[in-house]
Amino acid sequence: MKAAIRHLRRNRGRTILTLLAVLIPVYFLVSMFGLTNSIVSDMFETATRIDTGHFQIRHIERRGMGAAIPLMHDSKSVLAALDKIDGIEWRTVRLDMPALASAGDRSQAVYVQGVIPEEIAPISSIRDLVVKGTYLKNGQNGAVIGEELAALLNVGVGDQIVLLGAHPETGLGALKVPVVGIYRAPISAMGRTVIHTTLTTARRLARSPNAATAVVVRVSGVTGPWDVGKIEAVTAQLKGLLPDDVEVLDWRKLAPQVSGYMAILRPVMIIFAAIFFGLGALVVLNTLYLSVMERTRELGLIIALGASRWRVMGMILTEAGLITVIGAVCGALIGVALAWIVEALGGIPLPGAELADYMKVVGMKPVLHMMISWPQVVISAAAMVGVAVLAAWFPAYRASKLEPVEAMRYVE
């Protein structure tokens, strides 16, 4: 060990090169994980806050109903079941149904979400996105629509629109509602289709006074898809407490675009990691190999004096292990420190309105954040150390196979 440290000190240049070969990949990975975590988290938050929640409880669907969700008439007993379990941050009852919105001679297929305004306030969904007019108040007859829809129907705050609801279970229902607010959607498709009304208004449209389509639930302490365990822990508690005719659907079913994005991200990250690790390992292999060559005489002497093959390999691997652990830890710390700095400065704003628009389509914010996940940091660093030590195996093996007589004749 002492000898390993002295060897590393003796050849500073090479030691630093090896250090960097390990440090840079770990640093890059930590940063990349930080960025992608933040992006995934954004998408996840957009989807689960505004639309799906972490999970929903719905009536079991027995027949195909197209875009419509089956109606549930006993949301009270579902809420009672939720009251009995732990870990729930928030829940509300919602009635979602497809409808046709028209104003004058213009119409557009929309999706009406009937909500309880005071209940959705704490998690600030569309309420915070309203740019004209106001959000709904309890019991108010009105609609909050997206900017895109307002443009399509050519209406503004105060104008009337006609909603034609057609739930397959209850048939046609028509309502005239005033536009009370216009919101700016994080996803443009949403701005074109999603309309908020109060639950009461939606129930009138569905012509069914107790109907709901879902109880939407958010779980405490969930920051992203990685917290899926917390969500599962809560849904597991619900077993046996719910009425027989309802089912639990989690965000993976409700927001397949987020889990789909994650499914793409994983192999991409693995490929990146493999490339970084591969390059790092090559440098480690190369520098260590040079170092073995340079020390041929010394290694020959050690072998001549009777050191076993394992001992010689152990010496080289100890050196490699030492330097790679230091490099990996430094890389990880730099990555984490950088993330802290970025967060302390409030994120990196992305320039360019076009990019911001594009990102809006997929539900990302135009500000880059870095979210550090310690398990990822530890795994990245440990994996790099593992790969580097594996790469060190070859030079170490070569060293152990030196013939003492030839090695001692070796002239640099």
Binding site: A3, R10, E298, L301, A304, G306, A307, S308, R311, M408
Partner: protein
């Protein structure tokens, strides 16, 4: 002494180096016996096979044919790992140069063989210090090899070679890089260890001025022993 059991016995040793197309015969049938307590020099011109012989005796290389017995054990029957163990426990080496590990201090170099043998730290430090003191070089204990002279380095090499009390010390031209006075001092040092501790030495040299203190002189020319002369042996009296 001649009727004591041989420490090392070789039978018809041949060694031919093969490199690509060229075959270099280095030893052409060497049969010798070395005994405990002997202080033997192998002399001969450059390229005569002295180093080759020492390498074979020390288990650093294998003969093309013939057999070596060390304390009755046939080296041809030992695996590579067993040979390494044998070198560690039974042989002390002093080479012409580059004897010391540059990143270890004189004391650590001296104790290195003991470390390989698994001797505990306190014990090996004690033994290494003791031998350095006996050889009058304890003042260099904490120096790195590059900070001391060539003659001092070779003394440390001798200390390292004898510290674990091996069966035999093999020294291949230990004085080749030293001036005459220092060379004599080194040979005297080895001789003293031989006389005082009964350590067995075999050293190769082509410097005839160093031969006046040996108890036995083997001359080798073109891979064959041409002379094997027992000299007056003061330690036998």
């Amino acid at each position: 002494m001649s009727n004591s059991k041989a420490l090392i016995q070789t039978i018809d040793l041949h060694k031919t180096y093969k490199t690509e197309a060229v075959e270099t015969p280095a030893l052409n049938g060497v049969s010798i016996e070395l005994h405990v307590g002997e202080f033997t020099a192998v002399a001969g011109p450059s390229g005569s096979g002295k180093s080759t012989l020492l390498h074979l005796l020390g288990g650093l290389d294998r003969p093309t044919s013939g057999e070596i017995f060390l304390e009755g054990v046939a080296l041809s029957g030992l695996s590579k790992d067993q040979l390494a163990r044998l070198r560690m426990t039974n042989i002390g080496f002093v080479f012409q140069a580059y004897n010391l590990i540059p990143v270890l201090t004189v004391l650590e170099n001296t104790a290195f063989v003991l470390e390989l043998q698994g001797v505990v730290r306190a014990e090996r430090i004690k033994r290494a210090r003791k031998i350095l003191a006996e050889l009058g070089i304890e003042q260099y204990a904490d120096q790195y090899p590059s900070r001391i002279s060539g003659g001092e380095q070779q003394r440390v090499a001798v200390a390292r070679a004898v510290v674990a009390e091996p069966s035999i010390v093999l020294a291949d031209e230990p004085t080749a890089n030293l001036d005459t006075a220092t060379s004599h001092e080194l040979i005297d040092l080895m001789r003293r260890l031989n006389e005082e501790k009964g350590a067995t030495f075999l050293f190769a040299t082509h410097d005839s001025r160093l031969l006046d203190r040996v108890s036995r002189l083997i001359t080798i020319v073109d891979g064959l022993i041409t002379e094997d002369e027992k000299k007056h042996d003061p330690s036998a009296e």
